[in-house]
Symmetry: C2
Subunit: 152 residues, 2 copies
Protein backbone atom coordinates (compact mmCIF):
# COMPACT_ATOMS: atom_id res chain seq x y z
CA UNK A 1 0.00 0.00 0.00
CA UNK A 2 1.48 3.36 -0.99
CA UNK A 3 2.06 5.83 1.80
CA UNK A 4 -0.26 8.87 1.85
CA UNK A 5 2.76 11.03 2.74
CA UNK A 6 5.10 12.64 0.21
CA UNK A 7 8.46 10.90 -0.18
CA UNK A 8 11.32 12.61 1.70
CA UNK A 9 13.66 14.50 -0.66
CA UNK A 10 16.72 12.28 -0.02
CA UNK A 11 14.74 9.14 -0.97
CA UNK A 12 13.43 10.92 -4.09
CA UNK A 13 17.06 11.71 -4.98
CA UNK A 14 18.09 8.08 -4.32
CA UNK A 15 15.37 6.91 -6.72
CA UNK A 16 16.61 9.39 -9.36
CA UNK A 17 20.11 7.95 -8.95
CA UNK A 18 18.71 4.43 -9.36
CA UNK A 19 17.13 5.52 -12.69
CA UNK A 20 20.50 6.96 -13.74
CA UNK A 21 22.21 3.65 -12.95
CA UNK A 22 19.63 1.83 -15.06
CA UNK A 23 20.25 4.18 -17.99
CA UNK A 24 23.94 3.32 -17.73
CA UNK A 25 23.26 -0.44 -17.83
CA UNK A 26 23.88 -0.96 -14.11
CA UNK A 27 21.60 -2.54 -11.50
CA UNK A 28 19.13 0.29 -10.64
CA UNK A 29 19.98 1.13 -7.04
CA UNK A 30 20.72 4.59 -5.66
CA UNK A 31 21.81 5.94 -2.28
CA UNK A 32 22.31 9.25 -0.52
CA UNK A 33 24.04 10.25 2.76
CA UNK A 34 22.65 13.25 4.62
CA UNK A 35 23.88 15.25 7.59
CA UNK A 36 21.36 17.57 9.22
CA UNK A 37 19.10 17.15 6.19
CA UNK A 38 21.80 18.18 3.67
CA UNK A 39 23.14 15.68 1.10
CA UNK A 40 26.88 15.14 1.65
CA UNK A 41 27.36 12.01 -0.45
CA UNK A 42 25.51 10.16 -3.15
CA UNK A 43 26.00 7.13 -5.32
CA UNK A 44 24.50 4.61 -7.65
CA UNK A 45 25.55 1.12 -8.58
CA UNK A 46 28.80 1.37 -10.62
CA UNK A 47 30.08 -2.25 -10.65
CA UNK A 48 30.39 -2.45 -14.42
CA UNK A 49 31.55 1.10 -15.17
CA UNK A 50 34.18 1.18 -12.43
CA UNK A 51 35.19 -2.50 -12.73
CA UNK A 52 34.72 -2.67 -8.97
CA UNK A 53 32.79 -5.43 -7.16
CA UNK A 54 32.51 -3.16 -4.11
CA UNK A 55 30.86 -0.26 -6.01
CA UNK A 56 27.32 -0.66 -4.70
CA UNK A 57 25.29 2.55 -4.34
CA UNK A 58 25.67 2.64 -0.54
CA UNK A 59 29.46 2.17 -0.70
CA UNK A 60 29.88 4.93 -3.30
CA UNK A 61 27.73 7.33 -1.23
CA UNK A 62 29.49 6.49 2.06
CA UNK A 63 32.95 6.91 0.53
CA UNK A 64 32.01 10.28 -0.96
CA UNK A 65 30.53 11.52 2.33
CA UNK A 66 33.62 10.39 4.28
CA UNK A 67 35.94 12.16 1.86
CA UNK A 68 33.83 15.29 2.04
CA UNK A 69 33.74 15.55 5.84
CA UNK A 70 37.30 14.19 6.23
CA UNK A 71 36.41 11.46 8.71
CA UNK A 72 36.04 7.70 8.35
CA UNK A 73 33.14 7.84 10.80
CA UNK A 74 29.88 9.36 9.64
CA UNK A 75 28.55 9.89 13.14
CA UNK A 76 25.14 11.57 13.07
CA UNK A 77 24.68 10.98 9.34
CA UNK A 78 21.73 9.18 7.74
CA UNK A 79 21.75 6.86 4.73
CA UNK A 80 18.87 6.58 2.23
CA UNK A 81 18.90 3.70 -0.24
CA UNK A 82 16.40 2.25 -2.68
CA UNK A 83 16.94 -1.40 -1.65
CA UNK A 84 17.55 -3.25 1.62
CA UNK A 85 21.37 -3.43 1.93
CA UNK A 86 23.37 -6.62 1.27
CA UNK A 87 25.86 -7.96 3.86
CA UNK A 88 28.76 -5.93 2.41
CA UNK A 89 26.84 -2.65 2.54
CA UNK A 90 25.22 -3.36 5.91
CA UNK A 91 28.73 -4.00 7.28
CA UNK A 92 29.97 -0.69 5.84
CA UNK A 93 26.95 1.16 7.30
CA UNK A 94 27.85 -0.22 10.72
CA UNK A 95 31.59 0.59 10.36
CA UNK A 96 30.67 4.15 9.28
CA UNK A 97 28.45 4.61 12.37
CA UNK A 98 25.47 5.76 10.29
CA UNK A 99 22.76 6.98 12.69
CA UNK A 100 19.61 6.22 10.70
CA UNK A 101 19.08 3.96 7.69
CA UNK A 102 16.06 4.40 5.41
CA UNK A 103 15.39 2.00 2.56
CA UNK A 104 12.70 1.90 -0.09
CA UNK A 105 11.99 -1.81 -0.41
CA UNK A 106 13.06 -5.13 1.15
CA UNK A 107 15.28 -7.57 -0.76
CA UNK A 108 14.19 -11.14 -0.02
CA UNK A 109 17.03 -12.50 -2.18
CA UNK A 110 20.01 -10.51 -0.96
CA UNK A 111 18.98 -8.33 1.99
CA UNK A 112 21.02 -8.69 5.17
CA UNK A 113 18.70 -7.01 7.67
CA UNK A 114 15.19 -8.48 7.56
CA UNK A 115 16.40 -11.86 6.31
CA UNK A 116 19.43 -14.06 5.96
CA UNK A 117 22.21 -13.03 8.36
CA UNK A 118 20.12 -10.23 10.01
CA UNK A 119 23.40 -8.44 10.61
CA UNK A 120 22.23 -5.69 12.97
CA UNK A 121 20.66 -8.32 15.24
CA UNK A 122 23.97 -10.21 15.61
CA UNK A 123 25.49 -9.85 19.08
CA UNK A 124 28.85 -9.14 17.36
CA UNK A 125 27.49 -5.99 15.69
CA UNK A 126 29.22 -2.98 17.30
CA UNK A 127 27.01 -0.25 15.87
CA UNK A 128 23.39 -0.53 14.74
CA UNK A 129 21.63 2.38 13.07
CA UNK A 130 17.93 3.00 13.58
CA UNK A 131 16.30 1.29 10.59
CA UNK A 132 13.22 2.38 8.62
CA UNK A 133 12.18 0.10 5.74
CA UNK A 134 9.47 0.16 3.10
CA UNK A 135 9.48 3.90 2.35
CA UNK A 136 8.90 3.62 -1.42
CA UNK A 137 8.11 0.01 -2.17
CA UNK A 138 6.15 0.59 -5.37
CA UNK A 139 8.69 2.85 -7.10
CA UNK A 140 11.79 0.89 -6.14
CA UNK A 141 10.38 -2.54 -6.92
CA UNK A 142 8.99 -1.39 -10.31
CA UNK A 143 12.48 -0.16 -11.22
CA UNK A 144 14.10 -3.47 -10.29
CA UNK A 145 11.40 -5.58 -11.96
CA UNK A 146 11.76 -3.61 -15.19
CA UNK A 147 15.52 -3.99 -15.15
CA UNK A 148 15.58 -7.74 -14.60
CA UNK A 149 12.69 -8.35 -17.05
CA UNK A 150 14.65 -6.51 -19.78
CA UNK A 151 17.71 -8.71 -19.15
CA UNK A 152 15.87 -12.00 -19.52
Amino acid sequence: MASPFPLPDPMRRALDLAYAAQQAGEVPIGAVVTLGGRIIGEGENRNRRDKDPTAHAEMVAIREASRRIGDFRLTGCDLWVTLEPCPMCAGAISHARIARLYYAVSDPKGGALEQGPRLFAQPQCLHRPEVYGGLAEAEASALLRGFFAARR
Copy 2:
Protein backbone atom coordinates in the same frame (compact mmCIF):
# COMPACT_ATOMS: atom_id res chain seq x y z
CA MET B 1 50.44 -24.97 17.38
CA ALA B 2 52.62 -23.57 14.61
CA SER B 3 52.56 -25.38 11.30
CA PRO B 4 55.74 -27.30 10.39
CA PHE B 5 55.36 -26.04 6.82
CA PRO B 6 56.75 -22.76 5.51
CA LEU B 7 54.18 -19.99 5.08
CA PRO B 8 53.03 -19.49 1.47
CA ASP B 9 54.54 -16.36 -0.10
CA PRO B 10 51.20 -14.48 -0.47
CA MET B 11 50.46 -14.90 3.25
CA ARG B 12 54.00 -13.76 4.10
CA ARG B 13 53.34 -10.66 1.97
CA ALA B 14 49.97 -10.08 3.66
CA LEU B 15 51.72 -10.18 7.06
CA ASP B 16 54.33 -7.67 5.81
CA LEU B 17 51.46 -5.38 4.74
CA ALA B 18 49.89 -5.76 8.18
CA TYR B 19 53.18 -4.59 9.75
CA ALA B 20 53.19 -1.62 7.36
CA ALA B 21 49.66 -0.68 8.43
CA GLN B 22 50.73 -0.84 12.08
CA GLN B 23 53.69 1.46 11.38
CA ALA B 24 51.22 3.94 9.86
CA GLY B 25 48.97 3.88 12.93
CA GLU B 26 46.29 1.71 11.33
CA VAL B 27 44.84 -1.60 12.51
CA PRO B 28 47.50 -4.18 11.45
CA ILE B 29 45.71 -6.21 8.79
CA GLY B 30 47.04 -6.98 5.32
CA ALA B 31 45.62 -8.75 2.26
CA VAL B 32 46.76 -9.95 -1.15
CA VAL B 33 44.86 -11.16 -4.25
CA THR B 34 46.59 -13.72 -6.46
CA LEU B 35 45.80 -15.14 -9.87
CA GLY B 36 47.70 -18.25 -10.89
CA GLY B 37 50.12 -17.65 -8.02
CA ARG B 38 50.95 -14.06 -9.07
CA ILE B 39 49.98 -11.08 -6.89
CA ILE B 40 47.54 -8.81 -8.78
CA GLY B 41 46.28 -6.71 -5.87
CA GLU B 42 47.32 -5.93 -2.36
CA GLY B 43 46.17 -3.77 0.48
CA GLU B 44 46.38 -2.94 4.14
CA ASN B 45 43.95 -1.24 6.46
CA ARG B 46 43.73 2.46 5.43
CA ASN B 47 40.61 3.69 7.31
CA ARG B 48 42.39 6.61 8.97
CA ARG B 49 44.72 7.63 6.16
CA ASP B 50 42.07 7.50 3.44
CA LYS B 51 39.18 8.76 5.64
CA ASP B 52 37.26 5.77 4.34
CA PRO B 53 35.25 3.37 6.53
CA THR B 54 35.31 0.80 3.72
CA ALA B 55 39.13 0.76 3.40
CA HIS B 56 39.79 -2.60 5.04
CA ALA B 57 42.78 -4.56 3.69
CA GLU B 58 40.60 -7.01 1.72
CA MET B 59 38.58 -4.21 0.07
CA VAL B 60 41.72 -2.31 -0.96
CA ALA B 61 43.27 -5.49 -2.42
CA ILE B 62 40.07 -6.52 -4.25
CA ARG B 63 39.59 -3.06 -5.74
CA GLU B 64 43.19 -2.96 -6.95
CA ALA B 65 42.96 -6.43 -8.50
CA SER B 66 39.67 -5.56 -10.25
CA ARG B 67 41.13 -2.36 -11.68
CA ARG B 68 44.20 -4.25 -12.85
CA ILE B 69 42.36 -7.03 -14.69
CA GLY B 70 39.54 -4.71 -15.83
CA ASP B 71 36.71 -6.86 -14.51
CA PHE B 72 34.44 -6.52 -11.49
CA ARG B 73 34.57 -10.30 -11.08
CA LEU B 74 37.78 -11.88 -9.88
CA THR B 75 36.85 -15.36 -11.08
CA GLY B 76 39.67 -17.83 -10.39
CA CYS B 77 41.49 -15.45 -8.06
CA ASP B 78 42.48 -16.20 -4.46
CA LEU B 79 42.51 -13.85 -1.48
CA TRP B 80 45.00 -14.05 1.39
CA VAL B 81 44.33 -12.02 4.52
CA THR B 82 45.80 -11.92 8.02
CA LEU B 83 42.44 -11.96 9.85
CA GLU B 84 39.09 -13.68 9.37
CA PRO B 85 37.01 -11.23 7.29
CA CYS B 86 34.22 -9.07 8.76
CA PRO B 87 30.71 -9.07 7.20
CA MET B 88 31.57 -6.20 4.82
CA CYS B 89 34.68 -7.90 3.48
CA ALA B 90 33.11 -11.38 3.35
CA GLY B 91 30.29 -9.84 1.30
CA ALA B 92 32.80 -8.24 -1.08
CA ILE B 93 34.69 -11.56 -1.41
CA SER B 94 31.46 -13.24 -2.46
CA HIS B 95 30.49 -10.44 -4.89
CA ALA B 96 33.97 -10.63 -6.44
CA ARG B 97 33.65 -14.41 -6.93
CA ILE B 98 36.98 -15.12 -5.20
CA ALA B 99 37.78 -18.83 -5.66
CA ARG B 100 39.80 -19.54 -2.52
CA LEU B 101 40.09 -17.56 0.71
CA TYR B 102 43.06 -18.09 3.05
CA TYR B 103 43.25 -16.33 6.40
CA ALA B 104 45.88 -16.31 9.12
CA VAL B 105 43.79 -16.25 12.29
CA SER B 106 40.13 -16.31 13.37
CA ASP B 107 38.43 -13.20 14.74
CA PRO B 108 36.04 -14.17 17.54
CA LYS B 109 34.94 -10.52 17.93
CA GLY B 110 34.26 -9.49 14.35
CA GLY B 111 34.67 -12.50 12.04
CA ALA B 112 31.74 -13.31 9.77
CA LEU B 113 32.65 -16.86 8.73
CA GLU B 114 33.32 -19.08 11.74
CA GLN B 115 31.07 -17.04 14.02
CA GLY B 116 28.31 -14.51 14.11
CA PRO B 117 26.45 -14.36 10.78
CA ARG B 118 28.46 -17.24 9.19
CA LEU B 119 27.86 -15.55 5.87
CA PHE B 120 29.04 -18.27 3.51
CA ALA B 121 26.69 -20.75 5.21
CA GLN B 122 23.64 -18.53 4.58
CA PRO B 123 21.28 -19.98 1.95
CA GLN B 124 21.14 -16.47 0.39
CA CYS B 125 24.89 -16.51 -0.36
CA LEU B 126 25.30 -16.71 -4.15
CA HIS B 127 29.03 -17.48 -4.24
CA ARG B 128 31.12 -19.18 -1.57
CA PRO B 129 34.88 -19.48 -1.94
CA GLU B 130 36.76 -22.48 -0.61
CA VAL B 131 37.96 -21.34 2.83
CA TYR B 132 41.23 -22.18 4.62
CA GLY B 133 41.67 -20.66 8.09
CA GLY B 134 44.43 -20.66 10.70
CA LEU B 135 47.44 -20.47 8.37
CA ALA B 136 49.55 -18.16 10.56
CA GLU B 137 47.82 -17.85 13.89
CA ALA B 138 50.88 -17.01 15.96
CA GLU B 139 52.21 -14.21 13.75
CA ALA B 140 48.87 -12.54 13.03
CA SER B 141 47.56 -12.67 16.57
CA ALA B 142 50.85 -11.35 18.02
CA LEU B 143 50.59 -8.37 15.67
CA LEU B 144 47.03 -7.60 16.71
CA ARG B 145 47.71 -8.11 20.42
CA GLY B 146 50.68 -5.75 20.25
CA PHE B 147 48.63 -3.12 18.46
CA PHE B 148 45.70 -3.14 20.86
CA ALA B 149 47.95 -3.35 23.96
CA ALA B 150 49.81 -0.21 22.80
CA ARG B 151 46.50 1.68 22.42
CA ARG B 152 45.28 0.97 25.93
